[in-house]
Symmetry: C2
Subunit: 490 residues, 2 copies
């Protein structure tokens, strides 16, 4: 039961005290307090400030001892040197959970030894305090009591609910990658920015996510794993049920130097890490874009049964690039059987190709392109997943011309009203989405037009997993297929 795990309380507090917030909204603590308000938090909020009586509309307290209850959670954004004293005061008040956002706890400051981490660890031990951080960005929980409520002390945007949860040794990787949600079909469940892991680490997060009903996919950003054995053990229990996708940074000289500055981590031998990830069936990537792509595809429940890729395209170049990259990344692009080729030939224009890739050329009619061809491939039994290039928005391609009134008239053009296009998208997508379920063959679409263009939006609304260029879906699906293979054997 994840509700009984100690991390659950960090994500569901009923009362919270904040050190460091003032009335300047541009300070980090100010931003975070506003995030909290914005997220619909309806518990008690107690700003702690030495001088102010009121912070952003809340009654402020000079010392935590004066707060009229024991807050479920305390957030600290103060210079490192003040933190031991604050920890002590929190301990004396009876506080058991702290998020320590402040940085400045690294092992060395210049040549001077920095012992503050040791100090606060001792205080935490004395008072039975668990704390996240230091040098973290906070936590996010998208599953509050109702749809409009989240618990958020770090993220700017309103993100839709999903079952993708993050644990990250970088605040940015736990939050800023969502800076542009309209261009990302990826919601969020929970996010834990663990920072330097003085007390709570990634392994604690895995332990919590393992049994969490709101977590079905786990994303990790790792610079170091402090409890390697336990990590491996947990990950091996998790991945047969819930995929884990991880960015691991380390192994290069420059990378390791950056890590030492960042979280004080000494990183490790990247070969050992690679071994651990492989043994645990963790999907790994060096790229934040690929991390997001994999998370998007997994969030849609896409787990192809095998590695055989069918390609549908209306242009030879992208078809060839998809085929070439797919094979380079370990996918199989099988040449179709003669009977399947005949079946395809029957519905394709004479200049088309049908061996795989299926290249319809520009002449293809829409219901055949969107419905019939994918259906033929899905029920063939010869492929496990489809990438389809060229789902253009014809109203966008043609819309340009509608500006030229005279030409448009001459050409008997008519602008289609939005509802007609909506119905068209539904008509073209719904049967394929249903077939995709029926035959359990996922399909990924590519439209080189803007991701938020009118037609792209309609496709996305009707369930399409959409990419703008054709590089990313191939690499992404190749990694997911490797994971599926792991899962089949575990």
């Amino acid at each position: 039961m994840s509700e009984n795990h100690f991390l659950h309380g960090f994500l569901n507090p009923k009362s919270i005290a904040i050190y460091g917030a003032n009335n300047k909204g541009s300070s980090l603590a100010g931003l975070q307090l506003m995030n909290l308000i914005k997220s619909g938090f309806n518990g008690n909020v107690y700003p702690i400030h030495l001088k102010l009586d009121s912070v952003m509309g809340f009654k402020a307290y000079n010392k935590i001892i004066d707060v009229p209850e024991i807050p479920d959670l305390v957030v600290i954004v103060l210079p490192a040197k003040l933190v031991p004293q604050v920890f002590k005061e929190c301990g004396e008040k009876g506080v058991k959970k702290i998020i320590l956002i402040s940085g400045g706890f690294r092992e060395l400051i210049g040549d001077r030894k920095n012992t503050i981490t040791k100090e606060i660890n001792n205080i935490a031990k004395e008072f039975g305090i668990r704390f996240i951080g230091p040098n973290c960005l906070g936590v996010f929980n998208n599953w509050g009591e109702d749809q409009n409520q989240s618990f958020n002390i770090f993220i700017w945007e309103n993100l839709k609910r999903s079952k993708f949860s993050i644990a990250s040794q970088s605040g940015t990787l736990s939050s800023h990658i969502w800076f542009d949600p309209p261009n990302l079909d990826l919601g969020l469940s929970r996010s834990l920015s663990v920072g330097n892991e003085a007390n709570i680490d990634i392994v604690d997060c895995l332990e919590y996510y393992k049994d969490d009903k709101y977590t079905e996919i786990i994303g990790l950003y790792l610079e170091e794993i402090k409890r390697g054995k336990k990590f491996l053990e947990l990950a091996k229990q998790i991945t047969p049920k819930k995929p884990i996708v991880a960015i691991y940074v380390g192994g290069t000289k420059a990378g390791n130097r950056a890590l030492q500055s960042h979280t004080g981590s000494l990183a490790g031998n990247s070969r050992i890490y690679k071994g651990v990830f492989k043994e645990a069936g963790i999907i790994t990537t060096d790229y934040v874009q690929e991390f997001l792509d994999i998370a998007v595809v997994l969030s849609k429940g896409i787990l192809p049964k095998g590695k055989r890729l069918g390609i549908i395209t209306n242009s030879g170049g992208p078809g060839a690039m998809i085929a070439n990259n797919a094979e380079k990344h370990g996918l199989v692009v099988p040449e179709f059987s003669e009977s399947l080729q005949l079946e395809l030939k029957d519905v394709l224009p004479p200049t088309a190709s049908y061996k795989n890739p299926v290249d319809c050329t520009f002449d293809m009619n829409l219901p055949y392109f969107y419905v019939k061809l994918p259906e033929i491939l899905m029920k063939s039994g010869e492929i496990d997943v489809i990438v389809q290039y060229g789902v253009f928005g014809w109203e966008e391609a043609l819309g340009e011309y509608l500006k030229y009134d005279q030409i448009a008239q001459n050409a008997e053009f008519q602008q289609q009203p939005d509802e007609v296009l909506n119905k068209l998208a539904q008509k073209l997508l719904q049967p394929t989405m249903a077939n995709s379920q029926k035959y359990t063959i996922p399909i990924l679409y590519v439209n080189p037009m803007n991701f938020n263009s009118s037609w792209s939006k309609k496709l996305r609304k009707n369930g399409a997993t959409l990419f703008k260029l054709w590089d990313r879906p191939v690499n992404c699906i190749a990694k997911i297929c490797e994971y599926v293979e792991y899962r089949r054997n575990h």
Copy 2:
């Protein structure tokens, strides 16, 4: 003199006849005729149609022999079987240049041998016709007589002028990758879609671009090089002056099968191709996104003097990822000298890092972040290129909160008018752009917010080379640095 090259006429005709256009704007020929009109073409247009008297406002002719002049260029979008007869009629009229867009010329149609290509080649030879295609998408020339004029028979969007020119064996790679110009700071000079290369090939294009004053960077999409020796010879002459970036598709079983269906090409041994590209100093990539990134960066004249990367960030995670990936891709991320570290330490907050990456933390003030830090690195002599993460739009980050009126008041928030932000962007960017010139140290920026967000637009307007995520600039600059090294030795 490129004006004397035979391809020049294909891009600068004064009169043009089009076979296949009718009044249905959704047909390919119809679209292309409209492109032509839209592009500001002010020469004579002669649609050729068996039945219609008028096509899209132009007087139509039943046969080309009736056209009142010899058109400089003929465009054909007709079924393959009709093409030999049309070629013959064009030859008899005296036409010397044809763009043959139609497909259906591959070696085999099912088991039947397709001899049309041979037929039209013979006719072309007889009449001294040069032709582009078949199975191509046309040509584009952005350097018409005035700014508003281009010669365009394939591209939907209005693209800004630049000196990046394309020659491509795929129509899509020569055109559709520009479907979303607002998200791409890459203009276009010329584009030649060569299709199956029955008469004019990539080598002809290279020959033309070599001396073309409007071409400074060349992009290629290749499935096969028909005249390998000549290609290598030309490329070796070009790359010491003008960079070439190429996508080569081939080498895998699936890729080669796709190629055979696409242009009839038999592709080749990818090791031989790799050798040719290496010997000629051609930058290669498997990805259309990387192809575009490299073109964007090269179009801005960015050619770092060496491989030493300086990293400025306000977040540890992206800094570490940039450092790690940079080293993996052959860049050097040098640890700064003690004196440089001291200089940096002086202007940075106490929790910052300054060994490289320079991590300012979230506390950094804007003029230091945008101007002072890059300046210190640029004049240090210790790095050749900078990637800077975290150029957030603070009005966007904070703008969210301004919706909460009461909080905003409490927090003494004030929305900044657009002109204030414009001036701010100018103040923060201009000195750095000037320093970048002065010290010849390029700088690439990363803002994880939307590429068309208000602040991103302001940065781009002021000359910033901007990326949304931090994966791409690193890989891109690594490949460009390899090219610079080649160029230094040739």
